[in-house]
Structure formats: C-alpha cells, structure tokens
Amino acid sequence: MTELLALESIDAYYGMSHVLHGVSLSVGAGEVVLLLGRNGAGKSTIMRTIMGLVATRGVGRVSYAGRDITGWAPHAIARLGIGLVPEDRRMFAKLTVRDNLELGRKEAPVAVKRERWDLQRVLALFPALADLQTRRAGTLSGGQQQMLTIARALMGNPQLLMLDEPAEGLAPIVVEALAHQLALLRTQGLSMLVSEQNLSFSRAIADRAYVIETGCVRYQGTLTELDANPQAWTRYISF
C-alpha cells in the first residue's frame, strides 16, 4: 500500500509539558487507521500536530504524499487535502448552517475518482441538517453541531479525513448512519485517521490501529492482530 501520511519520531509540547514522545505512525492510501487509548493519551494532539496546529520540536518529521510538511501552516496543510473534524466542534456560530457548509467547500483534485461531496450529498448524509439550513450554527444542539462539523469537513473533499471522536454526542441512530457512510467512503478509497471511544462504531470501518498511552505508541497492528492479543487489550484499552 502506498504511504499517504507518515509521522516519524514526533515530539510535541504544550508549554512545558512534553505531550508526544517520539510518535511514529502511518496511514496508507485508502486505509482507515484507528487511534485507541484513554482520554488524555495524546490522540487529539497527534491529529492537531498533523494539521500543523501543534508545533513539533526536535528531529521529527511529518510527511504527506511524499512531501515533508513539518512546520507547514494549517491552511497550507488543509489545501493539500487533509481535513480535520476536531473534538470541540468549532464553527461559525453567527453564520447559518448552510453558510458554514459553503465555507468548507473545496473541490477535490481532478485525479480523485471518488464521488465529490457537495451540499446535496452532505445533507443526504445528515437529513437532520437539511431542515436547519437557515438556522444560525450557534443555536444548534451539541449533537447537531457535531453533524455540522463532520459535514463541513466532507465539503472540503479531503483525501485524508481525520475524525476526532466523531460519534460523540450523537444519537445512536445517527451513529449508525455515520458508520454506514464512513464504511461507504472507505470503499471509495478515502483515507481516514479516526479516534473513537465507541468501538462498535470504529472497529467496523478500521484496517489497523495504534494504541496510544501517555504520548507514546504502545502497540500497533491490524484489528485482527489486536483481537488475538487479549493482553494488549487489557493492558492498554480494557474496554
């Protein structure tokens, strides 16, 4: 499998706190990779580092589609086709749902064969948003904001989609629909890096997983390998 994203020995800090310690991981083209680990393990920081929102220090390198993107600005990284759905549901509260979605619009590179995401298609994925198009985003409920954040990221037609706890705060029936859609996206070759506590949701779509603990990669393998290793489950995840 062609490597799309690679992190090599990444160290990151929040002020004086050393939060990522020599993290190396990769996502292949068309691969869905899961980040597992407890709250505060460093999963969100890994995504924020890839997006250029957290600076790395030291010799570590982030590369994407063969280019070294270490130290790039977040907007430049976004233009390469990396989309992030952050855990904290950032949106333009004073703008309407539709405007938020339109702002996320970016055409996919011509080479991408996947079906393109547009307004119609994201609204079909989240029918609940269709009725809310003229509402200001700030008046949406928490779960609706979560749907909007995911829909907006899809509007950017990313090549690599990073989802930080996408199922959080969503009604069970919406989680089912989302899992179904992500599985569909996977068959269309979209690469994804997903952090998710809801394992029944994330296991179904993932190829491989990394277990993160206190800012280090403790374990990596396919989900089949992980399943066959109860010690790793108990030690690192204990779900």
Binding site: T139, Q144, G169, A171, P172, V175, E176, A177, S200
Partner: protein, 252 residues
Amino acid sequence: MEPLLTVEGLSREFGGFVAVDDISFALRAGERRALIGPNGAGKSTLFNLLSGRLRPNSGSIRYEDREIQGCSAAEICRLGIARTFQITSIFSQLSPIENVQIALIAHRQQSFRILRSSRRAYLDEAAELLAHVGLADKHGGRCGLLSYGDQKRLELAITLAMRPRLLLLDEPTAGMEAQSRRDIVALIRRLCDERALTLLFCEHDMESVFSIAETVTVLHQGRIVLEGPPDVVRADEMVRSIYLGTQHGAAS
C-alpha cells in the same frame, strides 16, 4: 409521595423555533430519570429552563412546593438544584481542591476578600468531597492536567458542594472510554444512594442510561413522546425508529 419537582406546560421558543413545547412531568424524591431523544430534541434547553439559565415563554416549574420559574440560576442552585454541562466546566488553571473550595465559598455567598486569604477556607470539607468522588490523592496541580475522567469526577465534587437535592447531569459520560464510563456510572449511582439525591440526566450512551435510570423520558421535537421503565422504552418501535436505531433495540 409528593413529587420533588413538577413541571407543567413548559414551553420555550427561539425566534419562532419551538425548542421545548408544552412539557409536563413530575420527579419524585429519590427518583433517577434519564432524558433521551434525537439531537436537537430540546434536552439541553429543558435543562437550561430547569436550572434558571433560560426563562420559559410559558409554564410552571414547582420545586419542593415552591414556584421557581423566574428565579435566577444562582437562586435555583441555592435551593438545591445543581447541574453539570455537556462541556466540562472547571477552572483549569486552578487545582482540584481550589475548584471545590470556590464552589463552597460561592454557595455560602462569601466573596473573596482582598486582604484575607481564601486559601484555607473550607479546606477539610473540600478534601472530603474530593475523597467522595475518588480524587483523595489529587488535591494539587492544575486541573487542566487531570485526565478527562478525573475532570468529570471533579465536576461532580463541585456540584455536590452546592448541597443539592436534585442533580441535573448533561451527558455525564460523554467523551469517555468504556472503563471510565463504567466507573462514573458506578460513582453516580453511589452518590445518589448515599446522599438520597434525585437525578435527571441526559445521555446518549445507552449502556449508561439503562444502568442508572429507573425511568426514561423520551423527548422528540420539544415534546415528551414516551415515558416509562427502561425495558419498555428500549422495546418501543417508535423510539427505535427516531432514536435508538437497530443496535440498542429490545434484543440487546
């Protein structure tokens, strides 16, 4: 038994959008009730109305035989209704014990005095509350550095500092991995039992809902569409089609 809280005909709209639509229900003292429903059903708005952060357009809220509709959030809190939020709300630059001390000071309506240090105020009581939620060994350091599960525990300790009779918890297990989730669920059950608390909570994790709640109220488009014991709600065809989906149906 007389209900602790009685809500009648409660409504609230936002610019023509009716978020809470003529809701009536009663909570008896000691009851543990879950509020579930699709995203945008009005759960958080209802919480905001009950805790005085929003005023209703119409309807009444009676608590211990007293009309509290129109009371400020602070007054309602002092009467014994305390709440948490979907997003963890603590002072992240302060230590856990300072967070609880501030809650105790605030609840007793004492303000910080410039010339007198508040560092020692209610220290023992704060320590006791921290121990109660399982944070006995975590008094110091910045809260922002606590694990997420511990921040949720701290939030409960802060809430208990208000000496509530009625607890309103908005998605208490959101964002947690399974083990922490189970720990918090056990903690909530224990706190309710030990302190004879009445509980109303919103939650999307069905395992947590069904292991805490005695009664489940289902909200849809601002209205109560069903109310009953967990197994009745879980088996209900309509609830499955608007909210639960296939995974959490009767068979599970």
